[in-house]
């Protein structure tokens, strides 16, 4: 199972979203991606749902922690 961790702090939009989508697109098979970022990646959520991915996004300190799970 793939595990990817991204630190997207300090990046301007839409770089965090692009980095997350690129990482997910390059993920072979099931896996889990976690990313920390300063902003809530609101435009990313419909993109994740379109790809059929499960996700949570919670406040984490002064930023947000996104977790995306991919079954296959």
């Amino acid at each position: 199972m793939n595990e990817i961790q991204l630190d997207n702090r300090g990046l301007h939009p839409p770089e965090p979203m692009i980095r997350i989508l690129e990482a997910l697109d390059n993920m072979n098979g099931p896996g889990k991606l976690t990313a920390i970022m300063e902003r809530q990646p609101r435009f990313l959520f419909p993109e994740l749902e379109t790809r059929g991915l499960r996700y949570t996004c919670e406040p984490n300190g002064e930023g947000y922690l996104l977790t995306v799970e991919r079954d296959a």
Binding site: H12, E15, I18, E38, P46, E49, C57
Partner: protein, 399 residues
């Protein structure tokens, strides 16, 4: 699942304001047919632009800058004087001149209150210094434009000297260029890569166009001193448009999403009209009879197409977010292909044809204006119908 709590913006306030702005847009389309190139028509489109910027910024400011999101109730209460002010202003231009004296204080107070509130929100926000500075610049220009507008509204009602109406070109320069265009330039820098899924083009000069366009608006506002100020403003605006387009083209070359989506198709057409508007403004400094064509390119083409184009994404997204909050576990229709391609493309074609037709008829063949206006209006109603259908697809979802 999306987290809940105070850190999440409520899309209802901004969504409501966007609906109001689209209603003003439809009023503008009808006024263009009925009244032609009149102040009533112009200010209906101005109301559309202002309410769209106000509505959109309430969502964008927190998303981009990390500012604290505002409750929907605050957004609606703060925007109410603006909406009422524009309704009274349009009533004044429709012939009920006494309404100018009500519109003037309402709009001035509304603009000032919203501007102070917005500046105060982003003053201490932690992120995006350049975007925050651009929004503050646009907002200050907005207050200046509203001040001139309020003075002229009182002059139209006979409460101030009629000579003050000579401030109209300065007012237009501040509203169209320094306020609305600066805002569109600033958000486009984030929207183009966001909508095309592209890495942002970051460089020392890549955001300079948002500053030069603001300068153009301020320089143009000095036209009452000499026509040379507007000439200089048009040249600066022209260079700004070219610089912004170069950055956007570089960004689009790096996009993940192969297809240019509907928002960016509208935006591409809008940038062409921005170029034409700047060229026409320059020409109008020698041939003032071409000024209406410049305004047509700027309002019907540049600003309206930018706002309508970005609205496809923003309305869809706000409606999707509303549905997601209302039905946290439901499977929602995919947002990526929610916009009907054919209908939005036909609307775009009609809006482009209508804008070109309106500008040309204002410049050389006034008798053709009504036909061009009708084409534009059909395109406008089509675009609003698509946006309404798009929004309702999510907002109207049953559990």
């Amino acid at each position: 699942m999306i987290s809940s709590g105070e850190s999440v913006s409520d899309p209802a306030g901004s969504g409501g304001l966007l609906a109001v702005s689209l209603a003003f847009f439809l009023c503008g389309c009808i006024a263009l047919i009925v009244h032609g190139a009149s102040l009533l028509t112009l200010h209906a489109f101005a109301a559309f632009t202002v309410m769209a910027v106000v509505g959109a910024s309430n969502q964008l400011v927190p998303v981009l800058t990390g500012a604290r999101p505002a409750p929907a109730r605050n957004v609606i209460v703060l925007s109410a004087p603006l909406v009422l002010g524009f309704i009274f202003l349009l009533g004044g231009f429709a012939g009920f001149h006494g309404l100018f004296s009500i519109a003037a204080p309402l709009l001035f107070v509304g603009v000032t209150a919203w501007s102070i509130w917005t500046i105060n929100r982003i003053r201490t926000a932690p992120l995006e210094a350049q975007t925050r500075a651009a929004v503050v610049t646009a907002t200050v220009a907005f207050i200046a434009a509203a001040t001139l507008g309020a003075i002229m509204a009182l002059a139209l009602d006979g409460r101030l000297p009629a000579a003050l109406l000579l401030l109209a070109p300065a007012h237009a320069s501040l509203v169209i260029i320094a306020f609305a265009s600066t805002f569109v330039f600033a958000v486009s820098y984030r929207f183009v890569p966001m909508f095309s899924l592209a890495h942002t083009t970051e460089g020392r000069w890549t955001r300079s166009a948002q500053w030069t366009i603001a300068v153009a608006g301020v320089v143009g506002a000095l036209i009452f001193l000499s026509a040379w100020y507007m000439r200089a403003a048009a040249v600066i605006a022209l260079v700004s448009v070219i610089a912004a387009v170069v950055v956007h083209v570089q960004t689009l070359k790096k996009r993940m999403r192969k297809k240019i989506d509907v928002s960016l198709r509208y935006a591409s057409a809008a940038w062409v009209f921005a170029f034409l508007a700047a060229c026409c403004t320059l020409l109008a400094t020698w041939h003032p009879d071409k000024a209406p064509a410049a305004v047509a390119f700027a309002i019907l083409g540049w600003l309206s197409l930018s706002i309508l184009g970005y609205s496809y994404k923003v309305v869809g997204f706000l409606a999707w977010e509303y549905a997601r909050r209302k039905h946290p576990t439901a499977k929602l229709p995919a947002l990526g292909n929610a916009v009907p391609e054919r209908a939005s493309n036909i609307s775009l074609g009609l809006l482009i044809a209508g804008t070109v037709g309106a500008a040309l008829s204002m410049a050389i063949a006034p008798q053709a204006l009504r036909a061009a206006a009708a084409i534009y209006a059909v395109g406008g109603f089509g675009a609003v119908a698509v946006l309404t259908q798009l929004g309702w697809r999510y907002v109207g979802l049953k559990a």
